[in-house]
Symmetry: C2
């Protein structure tokens, strides 16, 4: 039978409240008594009962806000599913969660949503930031009012956000390099088709080329092109690539427009001849993976990308304790048609 506050109180000859004060270091308390209580708690193997805590917190009506941009894209819709999952879970603890969606990008609206949430006294906000000084300022305001901010999917530097939750993009790129390098037979030409110049894409490129250069000496990385995340551009880039390097053996795709690139491969009957590793493909349980046109997907379930940040905040709010690192990385999976 687990030890309770009351039992410690009895053992120490004080009241529950005093034990609570001692253990949580809050309020005024006689240092000697505090010391004794802490020792006792340790000895008796006290583990705070999380339900009791959560229940007592219910009075405070903890609210979490989430702001999503590009809500119309498949990728963000995947993330939203993860958020709904987290929402169902935190609601079981009496915590409420509000999601604001923005179609396309509009930093002014992001900030005005944040202001609104501040006025409504939310306890925390999760958002996908872009690099913007007004946003920095708003994050500053929030955190100075005690509102915790978690960034996810991408990050913003020089802010007092609690932490970033998402992918270790360099590791993603490295993982992709390893698997692509191995399946092309450790030699020949490979290319990467990347999205934009944003930090996350940049990091993937760095990780990818690092490993290719370092461990796959017989492989030539013939280029990294950028699509701006536009489907039509992706198709064009792929075509150019195939014309320029007819002997290409592998491609690492990390951009919107995977379907279009696959189509180009199929038109030229190069599917299954050129090895394809795709980053984070939304809907990656897709036909292309099953039929072998795509060989491997490097992914953390987009689900997780929505779920994890919320749960990080929730755990923080209910445990009164910050995440251990400033970066909370989700797990990077190698997915083939056999372990989808």
């Amino acid at each position: 039978m687990p030890v309770t506050l009351q039992q410690i109180a009895n053992a120490a000859g004080v009241s529950r409240a005093t034990v609570d004060r001692a253990l949580k270091n809050r309020g005024r308390i006689n240092p000697e008594v505090a010391e004794k209580i802490k020792r006792l708690a340790e000895e008796m193997g006290y583990v705070p009962n999380i339900s009791g805590r959560a229940l007592a917190f219910a009075k405070r009506n903890i609210q979490i806000g989430v702001i999503l941009q590009f809500a119309e894209t498949a990728f963000v819709q995947d993330i939203a599913r993860g958020i709904e999952q987290a929402k169902a879970q935190v609601e079981q603890f009496g915590c409420s969660l509000t999601v604001m969606r923005i179609y396309g990008t509009d930093i002014k609206r992001v900030i005005s949503y944040m202001e609104e949430m501040r006025i409504n006294h939310v306890s925390a906000i999760a958002l996908i930031p872009i690099d913007d000084d007004d946003l920095r300022q708003e994050i500053h305001k929030c955190s100075s009012e005690g509102i915790k901010i978690v960034t996810f999917n991408s990050d913003i530097d020089n802010t007092e956000r609690l932490c970033f939750v998402g992918q270790d993009a360099i590791k993603s790129g490295r993982t992709a390099a390893g698997i692509l390098g191995d399946i092309v037979g450790r030699e020949g030409r490979v290319a990467m088709i990347s999205g934009t110049n944003s930090a996350i894409h940049k990091k993937r490129e760095i990780g990818f080329s690092e490993i290719i250069h370092k461990y796959y000496k017989k492989i030539e990385l013939v280029g990294i092109s950028h699509t701006g995340n536009r489907e039509s551009v992706a198709a064009n880039q792929a075509e150019e690539l195939l014309i320029r390097y007819p002997d290409l053996k592998g491609i690492y795709i990390s951009t919107e427009g995977t379907e279009e690139i696959i189509k180009v491969l199929e038109e030229r009957r190069l599917n299954r001849k050129i090895k394809v590793v795709v980053q984070d493909m939304t809907g990656w349980k897709s036909k292309s993976l099953i039929d072998g046109t795509i060989d491997y997907v490097i992914a953390d379930d987009a689900n997780i990308q929505g779920y994890e940040p919320i749960m990080t905040l929730f755990n923080y709010l209910y445990h009164d304790k910050a995440p251990e690192q400033e970066f909370v990385y989700t797990e990077i999976r190698i997915v083939s048609r056999y372990n989808v």
Copy 2:
């Protein structure tokens, strides 16, 4: 602000207790009133508060028992770590958990531990079963007394266990075949070194050969040997294999004795020339994976193998609702040195 029982009670003009009875279908209640309450709960979007529930449950002092055989092996010690992790978590809810360890295998002791747990009125037991009729009988006794049983790592048929939690071993074998097939270049000779004739090993063999035969027509699977999970035998098997097939291109290892097999490869300077995929290597963040002697590991963290069964039981006990399937499969990961 989430809806509470009290709010529904107010809306329905009854007491909390009545609402509880209606929603949980327990006790005597006027069917019409019950109907009305259910409708109301639905309309108002009632989500039971999990903390309240857990707290009220605390009186019942829910206890979970775990029985581990082969507690001296590295693999089971990994599992035990996962169990400790789960233990810490369930204790936060006032649930207590007892682990009994058996060194080597001793079905009589397993059963006597179960009897003891039955007498102590545990709510549930998690164990790794072997195929044994006395064990079947004991499981029957437990479940007829309302004690829920979860099997993990391996399973036992024809019993009233709640569910099996663990690996989909066929899928493991398939995944291994895919990755090994791809990295040897889709042609040449490969072999599998398996452990025993137990169900789990058998399934891996089936999955492995199925995919090789079906999708890698130019690959010849030259044999599946069995080590009985003995390290020295593993080494011998490996040597024989290398002598018999000097042109061997890949091995799928699914047995105790991976280290010994690796040593054999190193002695013959075949490491990094022969591709190696290892199943579930305990301590797979090991040197061999990092230095490239082992190419890939197919694994679900052994941690998970301990953690997941306990949490399944816990969730069942606290939610009053059985897992959706009879088989709860843990995720199968492909691990390379870059995503360890």
